[in-house]
Symmetry: D3
Subunit: 316 residues, 6 copies
């Protein structure tokens, strides 16, 4: 069976295929009957789906982040497509589908990215800096392999944080050859650590899907958490104070503007560069994604993360 991609659904289509339950709620309709309200997803998009007259068993079986097989009709509700579910069940081994095909995932395998990042760590000469980075990467490796870089913005995908780090490292290395006064140790360590406390700020499933922010994330945020982490590790391993201070300052200042969370602007060139590496990588990601389905000489929708710009697809 050839599962139709969600971004190809047309009103009136009959659908049979495998999809991911991004979220599910059990509700009661105005005529007092139970129904289930789904968001189904594949890599190409999402669709709302309804299972009318659901029963207890459905409610106990069908859960978030589960792959299911479904049959139904695509209808329209308030200007948007909606799937009216005829049959739905969890997959079993016979179905031979893999979760990796159903969640957005970084284009490089996580273990490979982790290894590549470790090679950059190897290039760090300053032992205090190197040890701080190594210690933290060791402690966080497991989560890093699946965490996204954000809940819904750029790099919101499985392995997204690793991918964001790795691309920034490559860009930092390239610019370091042009702006040779920059200290590469600070650049590499700053890139690796700048968002490391997103692992504490957000709760992510192993699919790289973030359900919510943690209370620490909301009361302090990943910048503050990251600074505390570096401070603690540096003291624990006896790193020199200047190195620790510089890394903390880079994390503190990497959002650049107070209203985006950085009470201090970068006061060292490596902090300035870190900010631009970060913003370039997220902007390139978002713009590239915005143009995916746009025809030449056409404009994308307004993209919230790009200040509501409509991005233009050049025709040259």
């Amino acid at each position: 069976m050839d599962t139709k991609r969600i971004n190809e659904f047309g009103i009136g289509d009959f659908i049979e295929g495998y999809y991911l339950i991004r979220s599910v709620d059990s509700k009661t309709s105005s005529n007092n009957k139970s129904f289930m309200d789904f968001n189904l997803a594949d890599k190409t998009g999402e669709i709302n789906a309804k299972l009318w007259d659901s029963n207890k068993e459905d409610e106990e079986t069908l859960k978030n982040n589960m792959l299911i097989k479904v049959r139904g009709n695509v209808t329209e509700w308030q200007g948007k497509p909606q799937l009216k579910i005829l049959r739905i069940r969890p997959i079993d081994d016979m179905d031979m589908v893999s979760i990796d095909d159903y969640v957005p995932t970084a284009p490089i395998e996580s273990e490979t990215m982790f290894k590549d990042i470790m090679e950059y760590v190897e290039k760090i000469d300053n032992m205090s800096i190197k040890n701080i980075v190594t210690t933290i990467l060791d402690e966080e490796k497991e989560k890093l392999l699946y965490y996204p870089a954000a809940k819904s913005n750029h790099h919101a995908m499985k392995g997204g944080l690793l991918y964001h780090i790795l691309t920034m490292l490559r860009a930092g290395e390239a610019l370091g050859m042009i702006y040779t006064h920059l200290n590469k140790d600070l650049i590499y360590a700053g890139v690796i650590l700048h968002d490391i406390a997103k692992l504490e700020e957000m709760d992510s499933s192993e699919l790289g899907i973030v359900s919510e922010y943690t209370k620490e994330g909301q009361l302090l945020g990943h910048i503050i958490q990251g600074i505390k982490r570096i401070d603690k590790v540096a003291k624990d391993i006896g790193a020199d104070e200047e190195s620790s201070l510089l890394l903390q300052h880079m994390v503190l200042s990497h959002h650049y503007e107070p209203e985006f969370g950085s009470p201090k602007k970068p006061l060292i060139p490596e902090g300035e560069m870190l900010h631009y590496l970060d913003i370039i990588d997220s902007r390139m990601f978002d713009m590239n994604k915005a143009l995916e389905n746009v025809s030449p000489e056409g404009f994308s929708d307004k993209i919230w993360t790009l200040d509501n710009r409509k991005i233009y697809k050049a025709n040259i």
Copy 2:
């Protein structure tokens, strides 16, 4: 001899008395002669002073934060009074003047204030919170006894930080009786800790005069340093995580606006109250000071810390 107060100097006056050297520089004039450039102070104000044709011995003897006896004439230079020094020497024991009469000092004795603050600590019920506060106060008592609350703004005086804390505690206690849903433990601990890392942010002499900010102060700032301090002490003494988190959040948010250094706004009522206790205490201090020498129905000069307002002295 009755030393004339600086705010009473008139152009043309002959002056003989004791003053404090707030700062001193050795310079060379356009006709290539050595002279010394002073800022002399007493509790009522400051005046620029010049010692023309100074010699090596003067330069080696006369230093910052030293009490001196001086004779001279008050002249005018570019619209401002300036003291032309005739004679100047350091005080000796015979002069029987005390440094405390020459630097702005909190109106309550430091040890008394410290004791009063400890009484508030005694009222804290939550043992984690109480222990965090007690530990930090113990470690910092020595510096607290003389540190000001700022380099040049409100409470820039010897013992100013203690005085700021104590007044806020008293106000917090009073408002806590009216807004009874507030947790007094958080209020008292938040007040005591909110500016505690100013001790690390600024370098202060024992006269309560700040010469400069530390590199940690400039690269991280007292809010971040305070959070790290609480985090470390809490972990060291095994305080519960929720209490530590709440105190860190209160410190983080007490400046309220991102552009003033708080990347998060208060998310608990006690944090909100801490912010207002802080701002009320500084504003009352500054306004009171602004009106010191203003006549009824008159206006003060523009006060920088009060958004350049000219404060009005009511006549009722």
Copy 3:
């Protein structure tokens, strides 16, 4: 019969009880039949309710701000609960329910609050100030007994304005003992008069529910109206000009920022304090209310009047 509280309604519940009609509209459905669209309320919340196939008599009987008895089923419509009305009628004397149980009301009885406020007036020494305040309170007593302090923000409840004033007076008295340079006459009078022209700015029913702003409210606003009122009363009773000017300035500046309606910032310490008394009282009210139904370690919804912050319920 035990009337169920609205914040306890569950989808599917059968309801029978007494509620308040906050608003009601008669409408026609897409199949051209008449129906009535209600917002029903008790002290715990509001719910939308529909009476399908309504008739002329229903439309003539059921009006805003009326108490009714209703039977119906709780259904769900677009993610929110909705009451499908089976029977509805106005209450009669037999029902023995009181309107005061159905509208949000200040926690202290209005006459008591008014009396308490008058005791503060008694403490005012300056006769000009005292007479201005007394005159205005006399003229406005009737409306003050039920007016809320706002249409939909803080203290939007019957007697809310009195409650806001009284709490601020108590806080002002407490802080006046700590900041002793403040003139208590100005503080007390400023607190009492700061929002007095809200009585002219808004049209309120005797339930303390504001339907709309008056044209004077929209074209001038309560700050300007309040100043004119003080000016007129002061001239009528021959108050001294300085006192009148100071009170007008306090009213003018109490919103502090131009974009919130104050073209001048406070230029006297009592005006500065008035602003903070006002903002503290509204923030404490809103935060307290936001946390009413939040579990420990949970967050409230985004609160519009608190800059869309989600308030956290501490767990200590």
Copy 4:
């Protein structure tokens, strides 16, 4: 004798002529001698002047706003011209110079302007509005004949307020013929009254020179004072409330932006037009003045009242 105009002074010139003392201070030099520090003015500009070794008689004779005869040399001090005074004395009747030649004055005679304005008043049909305007103009005629429209910005000249009003009336009349839905009564009355309380906000000498703002001006400002004035006059003469309300709203909103003193924006078209009449008249005045001494294809200095723009003199 042909008095040289100040804007024609060259460094090194010997000067003998009549000028106005805009301000004068008695000071003491660093070598402890008395001197007097003047700003001398004619219609073309101002120059700083020093009388060294002044005596008591000089200090008692030479006062602000007095015409004097002076001899001296033009020198340079810190990049600016300065007059070194050789002789100076007040004028006497023999000198036959008139103060009107020494202060900036509106280009139309004040009595003529007042009469022209009264002709616009005659065109007002609504009797309430007409009476309010007539009453206030009657009460203020004396001051209006010499008051400027500002302390140092546009129309800071004798009769400047009348000139500003008259030009705006003419522009309002012209635009009223194009935008025929506008009510001319409101336009004429709004123009006449919009700045009327500048007479209370500023202290002006009869030369149209403002020395300072009044305490009412600083604590309330001319917008608030103007509203109170209209309110009072309207009540005194029994004008209808709607007319009074509209005029007050126009005065309140004519600065348009909260940060410029208007807490409400215009909500009627006549208020909107009043704002633009006001701003056009002040901008045309300032730009015209900025270009007075600029050569074609040249730029003026930065003009503070024009957002520091340098205005360009077109060459066509």
Copy 5:
């Protein structure tokens, strides 16, 4: 037959009459049937309309900007009126209705306005300026006769751009008689050219209805396009450089603020005046329109183009 005006529709009315299709979409309902979704309009407003169970022929016949005859019932859907279509067909010649009665149109005939504008061109003395203007008007006459001045804001009507230009010319002429230092050639040419590249920025139908912005409009905008146009025409006809530069500067600066598209503020008085002529004309238009259906002492809805103000209808 007397066609009912859309702003007079009541819920439950039966309607038969002629309207304009502003937009139409073919959709599929949740029960999988085809229907068509219209916005119908006349000069008084718009209404959503549904044709249920539509067929292929309907979809091929009924298009945007077409006049139709329709029968139906006015129902209510989510608080707004909606027309349930019973019959619908395109008009034919027998219907004797004219498109001009169905689209908002300037109150003066386009050819007349164009002729009036050419009379202003005749008054321009500077031949370079006159030739630039004449050349561009010649090239654009055809589009000018129907283009609106905006997609959805002020003067969004057939011939709206001409009407905007003509009214501004009349106002500019009137103010030029009062502010006589202004160069009328620049004023007239600036007014005519300031929005000329809106013809390139937007795609308008001959009904004056703009469907979308062009790619040049989005990537550069009408200010930049207008400057390029003037530059090119000036070079082609050999106009003098100063004249061309001044006109380009006026177009560049006429939006006044960077955030509204003008990177430079006006540096010549004629540019300053152009800005105010433009803004006055659009504000008067919008305010007048806002008050069309408001009763005395009532307020309009919030008007987006007027900063969400509710405009007040004075009652004098």
Copy 6:
């Protein structure tokens, strides 16, 4: 003779050496004598210098941008060093000093940079884009060889614009290998053209020193001038419209924010990247320069072009 570098001057030093006259004015002192006021410079800094009792010959001989030999004493004036000139004369051939040693100059020879840039042009595949760039570079080569990139900010040095372009090209090439979806033709052309109209905006001497902005620069600015230039060249050589439009959009948007001169933000990824290449290159230049004379663990002065940050010299 070993000429002392200006940044090594000490108060009291006797100086003899070669320096550049950055600016010179002839003035008259308060005792009516002629003197000359210089700013002398070498590559390390500037110093104010005075030649007292100057004569006509001095004034006719000594001009801006001239190399001179000077003898004098370093004194102090108002806290800053000042050179009191004893003797001064223009250099002659015997002095064997080269102007290149006295003006800040790019670290690569201009012809070499130009050739390197042409190699990037060779890599452009799109012939329209390549031809536009080639044409403009050909026309501007002469000026490009010495123009700075700014009057006083980053890259204000001889050949600074070429150096800025070349470094950005290298960075753009490096990042293009990482962000492979970018069109390198647009990147290279955008970098080369983004500031090209600075050649029209500023008047530069052949030393790369800008005396002032042109009238076109002030009335339109280099962004608008650059767009017009591209537009004209593209039309002249028959380039395709899309290419020309994209380049114009990139120039228009490269300052990113309206308040910095870009009314549109980048709507294509290459425009986004151009902005960051530009800002990174200027920031790295300014930070590097700021740290030139700072000791480890020290801070620079406040740098205006870096938002008044004090940059920190890391000590690792």
